[in-house]
Subunit: 349 residues, 2 copies
């Protein structure tokens, strides 16, 4: 198995990326080759800091870097020799099985989609995130690829998210829900109402709508939505965690008794910080493209990079994309059957 | 000033509604008459529990109740003699200046819109919520009225939210922002991009896009969005507060030292609960209809009802709707000017 890593992508690149990649090689034996793509001098300097040299690493030079704030489409068009583009090229050329990047999300989506194209049967790729809730971990999709999807795109997200949940999280029959403004069938906008209607016709374990109130209530293992709402909900939840933390800190510092109490209870607050730490969950995955593409978050620690690489190997090993192609064939047959006129009606005219 | 209260609306009606209304009369002298609309026997029974009788109260009988789970449109159509419909009728007939209800939100929006119509110059009403952040309180609009708005509706929400923020919160020049998926001008979907373009042409203190990450960061005093996203973000934030509370509780109970610490720091947790308590903020307001309509949340305590009634009196007293009509005239002149061809271009042909 061969993994291409965008060594220059992310807020702490190349240092965190290189450190995480070396650590991944140490623990994941099935990786035969790991490409570190980026400025050769800087990448080699980081490699020198590592305690052991690693023969499975190959440094691939790329002269440009897509910055976190670059406008995605222009960046992809203009920076042909970026570390991100070159890493994707390795997958396109069949020299790598997967790409991992902590760089500019929009650019990664654009470049992967352009260069690798979608899988047979998939109209639009979608970004899938793992969200930790008290009683389950669920997939939220789409978290950032497609701002104006059609209802049929959401159905395909349901299929892909369900397969993701089965293969990576080990759920046997994941519950798929549409994110809406209420749990009742008639609640929603045009997009979600039509997606609901279509999802009822699939083989998925479709459990209907959920809304923001039951987001973390273990009602669904795959929650599908458009990228605008996905982005809004994820960021709002992150903000709220910070908000509550700030309220709590302010209140705890208001008098010495509280401060002493907080000191005694300190371990709880640290565990809380860890729970809210996205590093634990190995990044988001772009599903539906003809390749495996893992997006680690921008501020990735070495641990987050390592987890993202581990997830990449699981996708490759599990033949994820081949399963998706089969799933899409089954879906299209099913929806065509449902849309076809009844035989009785045909013969009556 | 005369206020019509839907005495049967909400999870704890009529008891909490009647108790809150009586308390409002005790503290708000400018209310000349308060209609309690609902099942006369039950409302009078609640009134009997109050320590003093209140001559300014008039009970208006209504035989039906729109339940919290009734489908809004059907409920409004079928239950003609509901407490909610009758309360709105009092406003329509000019016998009351405002309505307050803790009942079914969808039904309240539908019935108010149908019976009272929109203000001159307003195309669609929107629901405005007040959200407490550490450094400011901001208006989020639309929180539930219009699931598929046009960009021009969002601009009107900006005008109305800005006026709300000035008049009720006392901000002199409220910062208005579009809720989007990033702060840059080019980030968004078709709806928000066009709303952005239009808002730049208005007299509002328009500060551009904000996203979920800076929701509570004191970047804007009025945040405008469609009702789907508004609902999603508000409910997700509420869920996240509960989620963090649950994590924290679990962690604090893990060993005796932590439990003792938490006991000492207990006051902080209680203040936190209060901060997250929507009762403090007097409910949401339906802006843009020809009347004042305050929606207290379903689980309203007497205190929440009292606050909602106080907000209603502030709207009436400040001649809110007259200001909105003037604001809309100014907006339409401004947008027409901007859309008109340049004189030079006209004469050149």
């Amino acid at each position: 198995m061969r993994i291409a890593v965008d060594a220059m992508g992310g807020d702490f690149a190349p240092q965190n990326v290189v450190a995480g990649a070396v650590d991944a090689l140490r623990t994941i034996g099935k990786i035969q080759k790991l490409y570190l793509v980026g400025d050769e001098t800087r990448v080699r300097a980081e490699l020198q800091k590592q305690p052991v040299s690693e023969a499975r690493i190959q440094v691939v030079h790329a002269s440009e870097v897509i910055e976190m704030n670059d406008p995605p489409v222009q960046a992809v068009r203009r920076k042909k020799d970026s570390s991100m583009a070159r890493a994707i090229d390795l997958v396109k050329a069949g020299e790598a099985d997967a790409i991992v990047s902590a760089g500019n999300t929009g650019a990664l989506l654009t470049a992967s989609h352009l260069k690798l194209r979608t899988l047979e049967g998939v109209d639009r790729p979608g970004l899938a995130c793992l969200i930790p809730a008290p009683e389950n971990v669920f997939v939220l999709m789409d978290a950032g690829a497609n701002l104006e999807p059609h209802p049929s795109n959401l159905v395909q997200y349901g299929i892909m998210g369900s397969r993701y949940s089965q293969q990576i999280l080990g759920y046997s029959r994941p519950r798929v829900a549409v994110f809406s403004i209420g749990t009742e069938e008639m609640k929603g906008n045009e997009l979600t109402l039509e997606a609901y209607r279509l999802l009822k016709q699939t083989d998925l374990n479709f459990v209907g709508n959920i809304d923001g109130h039951n987001l973390f209530g273990n009602r669904a293992d795959v929650i599908i939505t458009d990228a605008f709402v996905g982005n809004a909900v994820l960021k709002a939840a992150e903000s709220t965690i910070r908000l509550v933390g700030r309220w709590l800190k302010d209140e705890l510092q208001k008098n010495p008794v509280r401060m002493f109490g907080a000191m005694l209870a300190g371990g709880a607050f640290n565990t809380l910080k860890e729970k809210a730490d996205p590093d634990t969950y190995g990044g988001a995955v772009l599903l539906g493209i003809n390749g495996v593409c893992i997006k680690a978050h921008g501020a990735s620690s070495p641990k987050a990079i390592k987890n993202a690489i581990r997830v990449a190997t699981e996708f490759v090993e599990g033949h994820f994309n081949e399963h998706i192609i089969e799933d899409m064939k089954r879906l299209n047959d099913k929806l065509q059957q449902a849309a076809a006129p009844q035989p009785a009606a045909e013969t009556s005219n």
